[in-house]
């Protein structure tokens, strides 16, 4: 019981702290609400990338494997919505910057990683919908998960002005480790 509370508490803290610290940023005073919302959609999505591999690998106590898988699918759907809010909000804020990013001609290297991760999430969601008919789905899903998380980490780390740097680095490290653990340690499923 104590172990369950500690693990869930640590997860909530690891996900919530970067969001809370980002909300303290002085830069928010000089940003429009839609731009701020777009940024936080990205931060929340980044935090969910820590929960996803833990759910997939069954590391979260107190959940039946079926429940964990169902939550994993729901979180995946939430990621789709958050990406839509992120890209949509940025597009409203500055259309040419988002068009450049989507066309891979942006001057900022991080947008390339973000767009790659976005497409990987969309492909994953599509394949997951029909996963019983997808050949080698477990391997495909692992490969896509690596692209999503590696892309998102590169995206977040290179951006200045949205997240607090130390909590951003910690969240990225945890999400990366959790993903590697889930991808490498569960062969055959």
């Amino acid at each position: 019981m104590i172990r369950t509370i500690l693990i869930w508490g640590a997860l909530v803290l690891a996900c919530a702290l970067p969001i809370v610290l980002a909300a303290q940023s002085p830069l928010l005073a000089w940003r429009q609400p839609i731009y701020i919302a777009a940024g936080f959609a990205g931060i929340i999505a980044m935090a969910l990338l820590l929960a996803q591999p833990l759910l997939a690998a069954g590391h979260l106590p107190g959940l039946y494997p079926r429940t964990a898988r169902r939550i994993h699918a729901l979180v995946g759907l939430t990621l789709l919505l958050l990406i839509a809010a992120h890209v949509g909000g940025l597009w409203i804020t500055s259309p040419p910057d988002v068009v450049d990013a989507l066309l891979f001609r942006s001057p900022t290297p991080f947008s390339i990683w973000g767009v790659i991760a976005m497409w990987a999430v969309m492909v994953t969601a599509l394949l997951a919908r029909f996963h019983r008919r997808v050949p080698h789905w477990p391997i495909a899903h692992r490969g896509l998960a690596l692209i999503i998380v590696a892309g998102s980490i590169s995206h977040a780390l290179l951006i200045e002005g949205t997240m607090e740097p130390i909590s951003k680095f910690a969240l990225c490290a945890l999400a990366g480790l959790a993903t590697l653990n889930a991808v490498l340690n569960r062969p055959g499923r």
Binding site: L90, S94, D100, S106, T108, E160, G161
Partner: protein, 153 residues
């Protein structure tokens, strides 16, 4: 205000403008994303908003590197006073006889992941249009420098 950065910039600019040293000077290409949120025809102003941040630069002619006077440079950025798209974030200035220009503008703050400024040489004069998008090495900086080498039309 003479900081180490402006001293280096001005010294190197004046060295480069010696015709013998600058033969074959290549024109500055437009940077990726340089024209984003450009609003044509911003007025020539003494400063943008309340000022406090100094944008400096030089304008020279491609080939011989001669400093160009009275060249229009338009400047815009995401600052403490407005977004790039806001009309009040845009202003233009003209180069002096030595080809230098400067604009007092509000502090640039990081937006879309980088603290950066946009500059355009955008009139219908004898030189081709160029858009620049320099990035600040530190977002706490209070100055930024950009050099134009313009290609005759």
């Amino acid at each position: 205000m003479l900081t180490r950065r402006t001293l280096i910039a001005t010294t190197s600019a004046s060295l480069l403008t010696l015709p013998a040293r600058a033969a074959g000077l290549a024109p500055t290409p437009t940077m990726r994303g340089g024209a984003n949120n450009y609003r044509p025809g911003a007025p020539i102003v003494d400063r943008i908003g309340g000022g406090g941040f100094l944008m400096t630069g030089t304008v020279r002619r491609a080939g011989d590197g001669v400093p160009l006077e009275n060249i229009r440079i338009q400047i815009w950025a995401h600052t403490t006073e407005g977004h790039e798209r806001d009309q009040r974030s845009h202003g233009a200035t003209l180069t002096r006889a030595d080809g230098t220009f400067q604009m007092d503008m509000p502090q640039i703050v990081p937006a879309f992941g980088q603290a950066h400024c946009h500059l355009a040489h955008d009139d219908d004069g004898p030189f081709q249009t160029v858009f620049l998008r320099p990035v600040m090495s530190r977002s706490s900086d209070t100055t930024l420098h950009a050099d134009f080498v313009l290609q005759p039309v």
